[in-house]
């Protein structure tokens, strides 16, 4: 159980470091907007080479954020939704804390005498 949790934590850390790059975030957003996409399509509109896009996709794949499959002569890339959900969780937690703090602020300014 503990080992499973530790492994999961390590996976999550990989997902976060893979996302800590502006180009990779752009690729992820692009795939979120309409995947699966080929490398050629992903390179369009980006000021970087196909080789660079491929390198970023491999890093994202290693982190479990995207996966690919062969389709004829090209490879199509798509998002792994679960990993991205994990990456969102950190902000969700902070967001929950603010919701709780706001509830207390509301009680304080609306109900309590000064």
């Amino acid at each position: 159980m503990k080992r499973a949790a530790a492994a999961r934590s390590a996976e999550t850390a990989r997902a976060f470091s893979a996302l800590g790059d502006a180009t990779r975030l752009r690729i992820v957003n692009r795939l979120a907007g309409g995947g699966p996409l080929s490398i050629v399509r992903l390179t369009q509109g980006n000021a970087i080479s196909r080789q660079a896009v491929t390198k970023h996709l491999r890093a994202l794949e290693h982190a479990g954020l995207v996966r690919s499959r062969r389709a004829g002569r090209e490879r199509l890339w798509q998002l792994e939704a679960q990993r991205l959900a994990d990456a969102r969780r950190y902000l969700d937690r902070i967001s929950d804390q603010w919701d709780a703090a706001i509830a207390r602020l509301r009680a304080f300014v609306e109900d309590e005498p000064e």
Binding site: A5, R8, S9, T12, A13, A15, F16, S17, L19, G20, L25, V28, N29, A32, L84, A87, R88, R89, Y90, L91, R93, I94, S95, D96, Q97, W98, D99, A100, A101, I102, A103, R104, L105, R106, A107, F108, V109, E110, D111, E112, E114
Partner: protein, 162 residues
């Protein structure tokens, strides 16, 4: 997908002055937030304090009790009377086992606007993209039980009639 900021808007049925004092005066802020500050908020100055159970909700206070006495620190960024109060901090950094001092801080802003029935308050926290990624992952790996528990209590709290 915005990973850099959180924004909350809430309509508070109270006067603008009441809301302004609740967020911009250290002792009032401390009463609802659950922190005992060592002095007043001064723009540009760091301020330390300690976690204390909130005075406005017994259930949440019970939850905060294990953290009581833990150090808490902010750096006041701006005090623009009746409009905007801002500080920097390590977001909800209450795990005593971790050293947050060398990490980037986020910016928390409270923005006040008049609304029909009171005050529209916007709380915006930004700068998450500068926090080390491994640290973000660690934050919820370490605190999983506590956070889940707190979320349930909050849900219960919010379901109470106003």
């Amino acid at each position: 997908m915005n990973t850099d900021r959180i924004e909350k808007k809430v309509l508070l049925k109270a006067s603008r002055e009441r809301v302004w004092r609740a967020i911009s005066e250290a002792d009032q802020f401390g009463r609802w937030f659950g922190v005992d500050f060592d002095g007043p908020f001064v723009a540009g100055e760091p301020l330390s304090g300690r976690i204390v159970p909130t005075q406005v909700d017994p259930e949440v206070a019970k939850l905060q009790a294990p953290h009581a006495g833990q150090p808490f620190a902010i750096v006041v960024d701006a005090i623009e009377p009746m409009q905007r109060f801002a500080f920097r901090w390590h977001p909800f950094a209450i795990d005593p086992a971790l050293d947050y001092s060398r990490e980037e801080m986020t910016l928390v802003e409270f923005l006040l606007e008049d609304a029909d029935d009171g005050v529209l308050l916007t709380i915006r926290e930004s700068g998450f993209d500068r926090i080390p990624l491994a640290r973000r992952a660690q934050a919820f790996a370490a605190n999983d039980g506590g956070w889940a528990h707190q979320s349930r209590l909050i849900a219960k709290y919010l379901a109470l009639p106003a």
